[in-house]
């Protein structure tokens, strides 16, 4: 590999982003080329410096925190809270557990009532279609 070929791979080599075979070929070139080695050192200084930036948070504008808190207060007023409020879910579960039989009976009664109402509605509708007057 010559310098002209190697130089295209140096930014990738410095960040460890090349395939293994390409990495080995670049490494062989670097072993005998001080110029490209210097270039890689410079690029490695860039990648190392960039990695360190996460430990250096930038100072936001002084009013940003207040502005953000204010901007999120509006959607918070408009939106329903993310999930069920605290203690409501466990309390609801406890009530269901304690009144299982009553809930089952109420459900069965509602089902029977709905079925009866539907049957009546079908009967009345059937007579209307047939042209018969609906009398009690």
């Amino acid at each position: 590999m010559r310098c002209e070929q190697a130089s295209a791979y140096l930014p990738g080599y410095a960040g460890g982003d090349l395939r293994q075979d390409t990495t080995r070929a670049v490494a062989r070139h670097l072993a005998g080329c001080t110029v490209c080695r210097s270039e890689v050192e410079q690029l490695e200084r860039v990648t190392t410096g960039l990695r360190s930036l996460t430990e250096r948070p930038l100072e936001p504008p002084p009013m940003l925190l207040d502005t953000v808190l204010e901007s999120v207060s509006e959607p918070r007023r408009r939106l329903i809270p993310p999930i069920v409020p605290p203690n409501v879910a466990p309390e609801l579960m406890r009530l269901v557990q304690e009144n299982r039989e009553v809930i089952a009976q109420a459900g069965a009664t509602a089902l029977v009532a709905a079925g009866t109402a539907y049957a009546l509605w079908r009967a009345i509708r059937g007579r209307r279609v047939a042209g018969q007057p609906v009398t009690s």
């Binding site: 310098c3 960039l50 100072e59 936001p60």
Partner: protein, 188 residues
């Protein structure tokens, strides 16, 4: 970015003050990432505001076993990408003199590099900046960046390598490292 799981759960339960605490704890980190992606203090502030509105809306679907810090970084990157697309249409240029001060600085060589790099990042094109910031600063994979930028891994690598080269050149012209152009290149 470390975000305690208990704090996120408190936000999900709607506990008073929990969301404000989450904002206080994370807004510097979110702003820093937004600034590095946008290259402008005003845009970074806008992105930061939008991030927390999205975070609030996303709390409902956030899974407790996921890393909240990673989730917040993803929302920030995604919001910045949306703003960049909008700004791309407006064609606004950035000014590298507007780089905010770092909250931590000890005057060492490493910090001189970091300061120079923050200024140099602003001079990159938005696509190069996004690739190098997400990969080299925040440790994303090229695949993840390609998905976020809606492009191919190959395109990300091209932008990444050009960005690193350009940053090295910028450090050289800022006098942080010896300019390579002064050395005599010899083929081997």
């Amino acid at each position: 970015m470390y975000v305690p799981r208990e704090l996120v759960e408190a936000c999900q339960r709607g506990e008073p003050g929990a969301f404000d605490e989450l904002v206080r704890l994370t807004h510097r980190t979110v702003y820093s990432m937004a600034y590095r992606l946008m290259g402008s203090a005003d845009d970074a502030a806008d992105v930061t505001q939008d991030v927390y509105v999205r975070v609030w809306r996303g709390l409902r679907t956030f899974r407790g076993d996921a890393n909240a810090g990673t989730w917040l970084y993803r929302i920030t990157a995604n919001t910045a990408m949306t703003h960049l697309k909008r700004r791309g249409r407006a064609g606004i240029l950035m000014d590298p003199r507007d780089v905010p001060e770092a909250t931590v600085s000890d005057g060492s060589d490493a910090h001189a590099d970091a300061d120079a790099l923050e200024r140099a990042l602003v001079k990159l094109s938005p696509a190069q900046r996004a690739a190098v910031v997400l990969k080299d600063v925040y440790g994303w994979t090229c695949e993840e960046i390609a998905k976020e930028m809606r492009t191919t891994e190959g395109a990300v690598k091209v932008r990444l390598f050009r960005a690193r080269q350009r940053l090295a050149d910028e450090l050289a012209s800022a006098g942080v490292v010896v300019p390579l152009a002064k050395r005599k290149r010899t083929p081997s």
